[in-house]
């Protein structure tokens, strides 16, 4: 049901009944290896190309989620997913393997929450019993498309971010009120495209921060919730610069959120001594951390109510070379545990 200007309330509270998360070698060395169900030792993953390795990550994550939920591909009505590669071929090719009716979506790094919001909406309106949704990215595949060849010796500035190799998928289904073991999706806010004139592709956090803040503010306004209603507000991949900008913008608007209740997936995934500059980015940043790490923490009772704000930079290598600024977007989904 529409509430406010651009938000949905899901009265039936669709549940996330299972998740599957896969990752690469860099994620294994990071802070959250336990968030991943499958971790690969190298970026090729025994595939002939990075793009095919990318496809494999998606297939594996979906298979793990299905196995955990005790479901087969035939039980699933739709898969709603996307990635960063041109024409989202890794996701489409994975959908070919999986044989599940498919919605391909592109929201850059905001794809995870775009997919989750759409899935919850469809399930809430009885358009499906089970939907698989998620997002994926592959460091080397993204690097060669958006930047330089992986072995090129260019120096990245400290504002640059590291694309996550991984895929995070969740199965969304109906819930009953007495089911307390599953995290439930209660509302979502679809963001609008915000462009405050940043054109440096090596500073995407700085470009995306205003979009995240805009969506958080709209979410609170639309739903009538307060920032204190949430145990945690987590952004997708703002990185160090974007995070501090967003925090400052929120405080400037009188939303005094304490630092421990405002986190960024891009800052949770890697160790400080890994060469990731300002933090993680990529469609898998929010997908792996939320589905692999934060939902586990919710089930463990650390958080009861979180707002996941996945942020996306809607650029292409072409628009960067044509000196265009970077339009950005953020989608927010509220996930809660019934007590």
């Amino acid at each position: 049901m529409l509430i406010g200007k651009q938000s949905w309330i899901f009265q039936s509270k669709p549940a996330i009944i299972a998740t599957g998360v896969s990752g690469g070698p860099f994620e294994r060395e990071g802070l959250l290896p336990e968030a991943f169900d499958i971790l690969h030792d190298d970026l090729w993953m025994e595939e002939p190309s990075y793009e095919q390795a990318h496809r494999l990550l998606i297939e594996e994550a979906v298979e793990v989620a299905l196995k955990k939920a005790n479901l087969t591909n035939d039980d699933i009505q739709f898969i709603i997913a996307g990635d960063l590669i041109n024409q989202i071929t890794p996701t489409s090719f994975a959908a070919r393997t999986l044989g599940i009716p498919y919605f391909g979506i592109f929201g850059a790094c905001s794809t995870s929450m775009e997919g989750l919001a759409l899935s919850a909406f469809i399930v809430n309106n009885k358009g499906a019993n089970y939907i698989v949704t998620g997002a994926a990215s592959h460091n080397a595949a993204a690097e060669r498309q958006f930047r330089y060849p992986t072995e090129y010796g260019g120096q990245k500035p400290p504002t640059a971010q590291w694309t996550v190799t991984g895929a995070g998928f969740a199965i969304v289904s109906h819930s009953t009120p007495n089911q307390t073991e599953f995290p439930k999706i209660t509302c979502a806010t679809i963001g609008k495209v915000v462009d405050l004139g940043i054109s440096d592709p090596f500073n995407m956090g700085g470009a995306m921060a205003p979009a995240a803040v805009d969506t958080i503010k709209t979410h609170l306004k639309d739903t009538g919730r307060k920032i204190t209603d949430y145990d945690l507000i987590v952004t997708g991949d703002l990185g160090k610069i974007g995070y501090s900008v967003a925090l400052d913008l929120l405080h400037g608007d009188g939303l005094n959120i304490p630092e421990e209740k405002f986190k960024d997936c891009g800052l949770l995934l890697y160790r400080d001594d890994q060469p990731v500059q300002a933090g993680a980015s990529g469609a898998a940043s929010s997908a792996t951390v939320i589905y692999g790490h934060l939902l586990k923490q919710m089930k463990a009772g650390v958080y009861k109510k979180i707002l996941c704000v996945a942020t996306g930079a809607l650029l292409s290598p072409l628009t960067v070379q044509q000196k265009e600024t970077i339009p950005c977007i953020a989608h927010a989904v509220s996930i809660e545990m019934d007590s």
Binding site: Y148, E151, Y152, G153, G154, Q155, P157, V245, D248, T325
Partner: protein, 160 residues
């Protein structure tokens, strides 16, 4: 249909945000980068000089002719380092220090070739090998032409 003039000016809101955002940016450590680039670039040149002497003393090369085998050897080394996945790490550490010498040119060529191997030898490797280095060749040749032109004109008119 005329070309629409692209407005370069930003809106006041965007200008305000740019200033605000700047304060949060982590600045490039320019002094550190310059010092490291100088040291690493210098080291690569010292190695090049040593290779050059090697060819002069052990083979029949003169100071004028030792240049070609020296460059070839350096590019070969840079290609090995690129193939083994080391050169991009040196690049992140050294910046211009490893990009400006001829080894950086070798790295730009070989990294693109390795990268596009998955698209086949002709359209992949062949078509993309000079993706990065192509502009170096174009503007290198063009600036050499301009310098040669200036030199020729000066010699003709001034008679130096």
């Amino acid at each position: 249909m005329g070309k629409s003039k692209k407005k370069k000016s930003k809106t006041p809101e965007q200008q305000q945000y740019a200033q605000f955002e700047q304060k949060h940016e982590i600045k490039r450590p320019v002094v550190r980068n310059c010092v490291v680039a100088f040291l690493v670039g210098g080291t690569i040149c010292v190695i090049g000089q040593a290779i050059s002497y090697f060819y002069i003393y052990f083979f029949n090369f003169t100071e004028q002719t030792a240049g070609n085998p020296t460059v070839a050897t350096l590019i070969f080394l840079s290609m090995l380092l690129t193939g083994f996945g080391v050169y991009d790490r040196i690049g992140q550490f050294a910046g211009a220090g490893s990009a400006v010498p001829v080894t950086g040119f070798g790295n730009a060529v070989i990294s693109a070739s390795i990268e596009h191997r998955t698209e086949g030898f002709v359209l992949g490797v062949g078509g993309n090998m000079f993706k990065l280095a192509g502009s170096v060749i174009l503007f290198g040749v063009f600036s050499a032409f301009v310098v040669a032109l200036i030199k020729t004109l000066i010699m003709k008119w001034v008679g130096v």
